[in-house]
Symmetry: C2
């Protein structure tokens, strides 16, 4: 792990990553394939090194996170620890969406000159704790100074040969599922930006909503189960919002998707915020809410089998046209509600 | 490759990376180990996917580069294309220093709202061209907006089992070598920051010095040769400056290093700048010059063999104490000259 700052490296980072290369458990991909960490962050070399044994698929992705530029951070709701946790969750989520076992995370942390050692340590602890939670050791990266806090990372994972889940394979007749309800992250944003406090929401729902930013969950176990099932045809995380995710899977697969309004779960906090602010609750559920659930497609009998292994909600099905529609409970068919993430870059989160 | 910006993705990036997954050549690590790119940037999925076959060592690292905050960029000497090239060279150099074959690069490019499409395209072209030069396809990353241009990347490489080169194995009696003279990047900084133009330097040396920033070379072939030799005991790139690199290898290996003043090559541009500005030329060669040469240690007969394969300069030897010294031509022994990179974060480059 490179550092421009010898004191912080020596005092904080070294103690966080001591013995990592020795203590990190082997990842067993299948009967013939394993991954061992040979040199992690503790080695402080130019790179980290893994020993790969047998045939497997390596999965890698990068996510920059706005971090200190998150509106909720600017409003004082997110600590450095929370930002560190978020950085890891966002990156590991991409690995989970491919159906892979996480094997390591490279973190880029550039900090401003006035950042205190306590804040820096909290940030690194948030990274470390989230890495432990998602079984994805922080194997190195780049630490140094900048004019403000800059956070980026890359995550690596592995799965058996042919095990990676893509966005492209959805087939007409497949069911469309999500691992858990979406919309909490967006509801938190709408509620707190409106600055119209509601005692009931504050008491009952605010912590739950804030946890979608403070402790987001990368669906690692779910992704592994989806890959192991061998019949999942497409998968993507909802970090761009559910609407964008469904539209992307449909487009990449050259298929249509019909979502059934009555099947879409609306988390109670999102419903409460929608009532309070006079918004369409489905707009919160489908819109630019940066959640990290997995959206996937599979034949119905495979979905029945998966129900025994992971939480899931069937929300629609793949069709043989190329339309993405919401089938309303009144029989109408409309476009999916909600703002698409891609068109609101400066407003939204990730 | 994720993007917050559909137009730029569609118009610029898609055309840059078309058919990458099909056209990228297999990396042959050894008789039994290969790497194939299954899904690259063109797949536009959550992650890129490689198929790994057989036993091998995966090498991964991340480097953030100051890019627009480089002093030479602020002074107008570096274009967006140059910054893209630099980002790739800095990251691939870490792979080269481990002795690995590059297999892919994840780039994080966050651009300011006022960046023109031409500038953005030039930047991406610089990334693409450097990736081609170093045989390291740009397989994805994260593209989106930020308040200023932010550049970071992660590079991946592979080598045979046991083939990775670390900093830790230097043995007393080994020779200390560099692949090419260092100091050009630092000399360019000193000369241009001094703002004391010299017609001879401008005519004879400025382009050469600027090329160390505009077209730095990651020593990929050299790193592969060093690993293949099987007798190189330690290796590191000089991106923190030669002094810091030598001190790091000595410290990591628990050994001393004696550098012989008469053996250290001083590139003519650095000598000219030193004369012009009345500086110690060895201070430029050893100091905070962000070059991407490889510094390595090996027994002398292995060095003789390597001379037939790569360019190298023997500059010293590993000793059985723990001192790092410069053996002056007058017989004196002094610490290595030059400012160490780590203590000049806000002044220097990478």
């Amino acid at each position: 792990m490179r550092s421009d700052e010898p004191t912080r490296l020596a005092n904080i980072i070294t103690s966080l990553f001591r013995d990592q290369s020795i203590t990190t458990e082997q990842v067993v991909v299948d009967e013939t394939s394993t991954v061992d960490l040979v040199a992690g962050a503790d080695a402080q070399d130019d790179c980290a090194v893994f020993r790969m044994n047998g045939d497997q698929e390596l999965v890698v992705g990068s996510d920059y996170v706005r971090g200190p530029k998150f509106r909720l951070c600017e409003m004082g709701y997110l600590s450095e620890y929370d930002l560190g946790h978020y950085l890891v969750a966002a990156n590991v989520s991409d690995i989970a969406a491919m159906g892979a076992h996480p094997i390591g995370l490279l973190s880029v942390v550039r900090y401003p000159p006035d950042m205190t050692d306590d804040s820096f340590e909290n940030l690194m602890q948030g990274i470390k704790d989230a890495c432990a939670k998602f079984r994805c050791p922080n194997i190195g990266g780049d630490i140094g100074s900048a004019e403000r806090l800059i956070l980026s990372a890359s995550a690596l994972g592995t799965c058996r040969r042919g095990g990676a889940l893509f966005r492209t394979g959805a087939k007409p007749g497949d069911l469309v599922c999500i691992t858990s309800p979406t919309g909490l992250a967006g509801a938190a944003m709408e509620y707190l930006r409106a600055q119209r406090p509601c005692a009931i929401i504050d008491e009952l729902h605010l912590e739950t909503m804030l946890d979608s930013w403070r402790r987001p969950v990368a669906r690692v176990d779910e992704g592994i189960a989806l890959s192991a099932c061998r019949r999942v045809t497409a998968c993507q995380d909802t970090s761009d919002g559910l609407k964008a995710t469904i539209e992307c899977i449909a487009s990449a697969s050259g298929a249509g998707i019909a979502v059934f309004e009555d099947s879409v779960p609306v988390p109670e906090p999102a419903a409460a915020v929608a009532r309070h602010l006079d918004l369409d609750p489905l707009g919160l559920v489908f819109g630019d809410s940066v959640d990290f659930e997995l959206t996937f497609t599979a034949p119905s009998d495979a979905v029945d089998q998966l129900r025994n292994e992971i939480g899931l909600h069937v929300i629609g099905e793949v069709t043989d046209d190329t339309d993405v529609v919401l089938c309303r409970s009144d029989g109408g068919r409309t476009p999916l509600p909600g703002k698409a993430w891609k068109h609101t870059v400066d407003e939204a989160g990730g």
